[in-house]
Amino acid sequence: MTEVTRFTHGSRIPGWDDAVDPDKAPAPVPDAATTPVPAELRQEIEAEMAKYPVSRSALIPALHAAQRVHGWCSPEAIEQVATVMGITPGEVAAVATFYDMFETKPVGRQTIYVCTNISCSLRGGDKILAAMKAAAEGDADFNIRGFECLGACDMAPMASVNGDFVGPLEPADCAQIVSDLKGGLEVIPSKQLRARPCADPAGNVAVTSNEGGQS
């Protein structure tokens, strides 16, 4: 019988082809006594856990917090979250690998998501991604990713720079963004979402004082 080669197409699950030891028992809930957790991180996770009737709900906020501390969801970060939350590292890793914003490999601290979904790609989103990558070429401090729709198609093509939405971008803006980040400046303030008025003319009617109601 010919042997069927499996998974030759690859899988979308990150780390699916990492070497594993099949004889190894699943990791238990880490022992709090032997797993040091930074006090601030522990406090933040515990505060999140207290918000929910079932503390497991705090797992995503906890991973956000751990990623802020460690830069990515490293095995150490996962271990620490598991320790505080009292679940196994496997359960934490399963969640961390599911969501796009959690980094499962070490990355640069400057995170830029460039939207390449439909509305942005119709307006040149792919060129922006290429220009952004070129602008930060070789700088390990930058984590530049093509990202799915970020919900800002009105400013397409756009990018999320460390969480701040900027757009509409020209390829030439990319070098500016990268140099602004290197200099610790706010990126292109005039193109930030927070500065953008509503497109609907009805939403910008001057405030009149004679009406009490909203409608």
Partner: protein, 434 residues
């Protein structure tokens, strides 16, 4: 029509509770707390408001499904807004967060939920920070907490940030994610109204739907129902993007002509270009062409035209774009976002991308188009949620409506590749002489 949700939306400082209260904010809540809960649900039913997140299910009916028994019940606001082309909730939350919060408190009171959550997509950091601040203000003013305004009703409201997954906009995927798991959709039934978050009855609604509740109570349900057209009451926030001159959010009265929205409000495509096709309700809706521009923009008219109003996101594609590029961008997105739980979606999205890539690379034959279409048919209706359908519907509509262009593209790409003409169909092949 005067704006309801976008009423003076850019008023400076509207994020602040004092400014919001000055224009009549939280008055609807004060009034609601004096009315029996059944009365509020009746008002919502009378308004005819249909869910604004995509499915268009009537809000009043959904709220009436929540058991009245005195058990732990939950209210969840779906602020995951990740349907490509949709960005209306973002503007609402960023500029008028208290409108949403007020709507949520009223909705929670109406169904007797004492815990509520806003599940906001992780990428919306600015909006999350604004909401967090607004929730703190509402708590300080006694609108959220124990015994709200002396009514005996108590409510907790927690803002929960997601971490980037389209599937978490699907209500049951969202609930799993909110429980700290991977966002895999659940089998329905049981529906969330019976068994949702933490196994309790859960009312889950979109941001825009919940934010419409205070205006409805202020106007009266029957007055609100006069806006719009039959079976599509009220106003709708429409996000217009793609190849238009003035992309953005606009509040329209349902039933408005699509041409007036695309050309009148958004300015249409750039000078010298024409609309090739458009998505009427987010990237998941089957496309319409320039011939359909005079359709009225409401739930029933679009459903009759074989598509849907969805989240109210219009994406316009002009004649300079290749239909193959758009189909490939779309399919790649759904492939990336498929959670992998159901085989038809996981495999269907993957193979659709591979086949479209073959077309792009000049390795395909027109027969591939038939296979693409049959794959889409096998996805639709065969999964726990509609993510697979959300790819299958627009992709199959593109292949059906633009088949000639796909075939031309296949021929041209083969030519470029040096593969020459497409082999003729088997029946016309000359018999081999042995």
């Amino acid at each position: 029509m005067s704006a309801i949700l976008f009423d003076r939306i850019d008023e400076p400082g509207l994020n602040d509770i004092a400014v919001y209260e000055k224009r009549g904010g939280y008055e609807a809540l004060k009034k609601a707390l004096t009315v029996p809960t059944a009365g509020i649900i009746e008002e919502l039913k009378a308004s005819g408001l249909r869910g604004r997140g995509g499915a268009g299910f009537p809000l009043g009916t959904k709220a009436s499904f929540i058991p009245t028994a005195d058990i732990d019940k939950y209210l969840v606001c779906n602020a995951d807004e990740s349907e490509p082309g949709t960005f209306k909730d973002r503007e609402l939350m960023q500029k008028n967060p208290h409108l949403l919060i007020e709507g949520m408190i009223i909705a929670a009171y109406a169904v007797g939920a004492n815990r509520s959550f806003i599940y906001i997509r992780g990428e919306y950091e600015l909006q999350a920070n604004i909401l967090e601040e607004a929730i703190a203000q509402a708590k300080a003013s006694g609108y959220i907490g124990e015994n709200i305004l002396g009514s005996g009703f108590s409510l907790d409201l927690v803002l929960h940030r997601g971490a980037g997954a389209y599937i978490c906009g699907e209500e049951t995927g969202l609930l799993d994610s909110l429980e700290g798991k991977r966002g895999n959709p659940r089998l329905k039934p049981p529906f969330p109204a019976n068994q949702g978050l933490f196994q309790g009855p859960t009312l889950i609604n979109n941001v825009e739907t919940l934010a419409t509740i205070p205006p409805i109570l202020r106007m009266g349900g029957s007055e609100y129902a006069k806006l719009g057209v039959e079976n599509s009451a009220g106003t709708k926030l429409v996000s217009i993007s793609g190849n238009v001159q003035r992309p953005g959010n606009y509040e329209i009265e349902l039933g408005m002509s699509s041409r007036d929205i695309i050309y009148g409000l958004a300015g249409g495509p750039d000078e010298g270009r024409t609309v090739k096709f458009w998505f009427p309700g987010g990237s998941s809706s089957p496309v319409l062409t320039a011939d359909d521009l005079d359709l009225a923009y409401d739930f029933d008219t679009l459903a009759k035209a074989g598509t849907m109003l969805g989240s109210g996101a219009i994406i316009v594609v002009d004649d300079t774009n290749s239909v193959v590029d758009v189909a490939l961008t779309l399919a790649s997105f759904y492939k990336h976002e498929s959670c992998g739980k159901c085989t038809p979606c996981r495999e269907g999205t993957t193979w659709t991308v591979k086949m479209l890539q073959r077309i792009q690379d000049g390795e395909a034959t027109p027969m591939d188009l038939d296979i693409i279409s049959s794959v889409q048919e096998q996805i639709i209706g065969n999964c726990l949620c509609v993510l697979g359908d959300a790819m299958a519907m627009p992709v199959s509509s593109l292949v059906t409506k633009f088949r000639a262009e796909f075939e031309e593209h296949i021929e041209a790409a083969r030519e470029r590749n040096g593969l020459g003409m497409t082999p003729p169909p088997a029946s016309e092949e000359p018999a081999l002489s042995l």
